[in-house]
Symmetry: D3
Subunit: 138 residues, 6 copies
């Protein structure tokens, strides 16, 4: 995640060096995303093919089109979480993904404003020990 | 925030007991939201009128209509952050707000799926020390 | 931590039921704090006397008078961290501790304002991927 | 935030390239802080002038002199939050700010000791499910 | 998650009211765990059968026997994460699960000690801006 | 913690430059760990000898052999927490420590899978506001 890592924990597994099981996932990632390369996240997870497959299939199901939320909205939510958690790799990769899905600079600015404000008011609510309103108790 | 708090840290300031400065903010909240009540978050913040005013004006600017992101999308993002931070009050109040803005049960389910997955992959990326791809370095 | 817990994980160990080893810590807590009761945090930790002793001795060393920071400042910092982490028990207990150390409602309001703002700008800095200024590289 | 970012998400906006609206904020930052440079946080936010202005005005109100807490105490609290959230940029910038406000190495050491201890006991309280003492229920 | 919720966001779906799709997951949970009841987490997720199925199948794969880590170790890790995140529901449910898997009070005490210490030193490392040792760069 | 830090906040204190008090801790670290070098975490903390000593003695007590949990299990838990908190230095150093204690690549893969899943379900539980089952209320 950080520059000091020339390599990931166990190195990155390139397509040429991957097992058939891993290649099958890589192929599906490239086909689904209509790209001809694999990003480092998957090349790292490839050391654990079960997790690679499970994570990819979950992502594909969750982030794909056809649901109640459109793909751009889902990418904005992903970036909101990654920013809140301050995950450097995830912020970089999901900023790129959100742009690919149509995020404009104006949308990014508003996203960050909401994320910042939510992080602020979350702590104000906790710190002031605000009791939940009866109206909010479903 | 939790049931053990019969009252907030310094109690809740009701409209009838509020100073003109606080009432002006309460009035603006009710007018802007087209409601006739004030939720406990603001009644707690009212102990610090400067923070009450600043927080409200920020929220009004950020969450209102007319931007690049529609109000529902912004509420979904707010709830995504609150869920990631596990703020009980904020989850309760922003689930209500998102419903008011049009969130359906299907949207809520997909929102939670994205939030859960992002929280998972954020840790996989960090734990595997995944180096940022050159393509993601703007 | 939450109301649903009538008892802590392994119950609370009262003074009357405590081993001599645990009583020695309880006595030191009451003597140091000049109080005649023990709060639930210590009664829970008492199930693991080694952790009870270590945590108490660390707290006593760190939070006591005579350092470069005065006790009130240290309590404000403790509450800032607890609020950021959204720990219900810790917010309740350290709000009480900070008041005992002299925190006024005005100080509490300013503390919350700083905590809220820092939580906001932390995410803006991460989300915008702001590079560290050379001047800040010691 | 990390070294891999030669540039921020949308690049840094230098004074010479800034709009009059952004320059007005930059000028106010330099005047208020009595410095002749702008740090990268603001140069990144400048892509969203509304957030730039709002964040700066909030910071100026909250962190300035004349309140119940002195500027050094507020900087210590800001650094405590940034450390708890593990925001690299914010730790670097607010360590510098706290030093400018008078933080000595001894104060820094004690600050870190409190921040570390609070992060430890926050989890002990949660993990042991410690119920809130009646005395702490305001 | 908190006592104020008599019901979850969209209510709990009991077996008698569940669709065949949801019942199939409930049946598998009870069969796998050799229990005759379903805990509230699944009854809440049942509002989104896709997430219910995916989460359960992931949990079953990850937490089951036969891997390099035994089930108790995995439960301890789950509880360590839940405690660090301060998730009330998860702490309660995974404390129960860890006990079922063989966690003794002594193990719980040591687990909490490690979790507390790691949370402390994580912040000391960040706050002191400790550079990664070359020896740790794989 | 990040590459931009050529040095830690106040520099690293090497053995040759250390006071007798600091050297005594360094000696004990090397003797206990059967190594002939000190990692940067301790060289940073050495600026505050009281914290250096306290942190080391706590770590030695908590992480050593002879308890209910074996040293490898404790290292896995430490890494789980560090990953959840996304502390770059701690992930690097505790991955090394866990390997030294016997963590295999298979164990690492399972550890990450559990950590990722726990981070996901923690948010599902909070976001769905799942009420704690009576059976889990001790």
């Amino acid at each position: 995640m950080y520059e000091h890592n020339i390599m990931a924990t166990y190195g990155l597994i390139e397509y040429a060096d991957a097992s058939p099981e891993v290649r099958a996932v890589y192929d599906d990632i490239m086909r689904t995303r209509k790209v001809d390369w694999i990003n480092n996240f998957w090349k790292s997870l490839a050391h654990d093919p079960a997790t690679l497959r499970r994570a990819w299939e979950s992502i594909r199901q969750i982030m794909g089109p056809g649901g109640a939320l459109d793909p751009l909205t889902k990418e904005l939510i992903y970036l909101a979480v990654s920013t809140t958690n301050q995950c450097g790799y995830c912020i970089a990769s999901h900023t790129a993904a959100a742009r690919n899905a149509g995020m404009t600079p104006e949308m990014f600015g508003e996203l960050m404003a909401v994320v910042g404000m939510a992080n602020e008011t979350n702590r104000l609510a906790s710190g002031y020990q605000v009791p939940v309103d009866d109206r909010f108790k479903v």
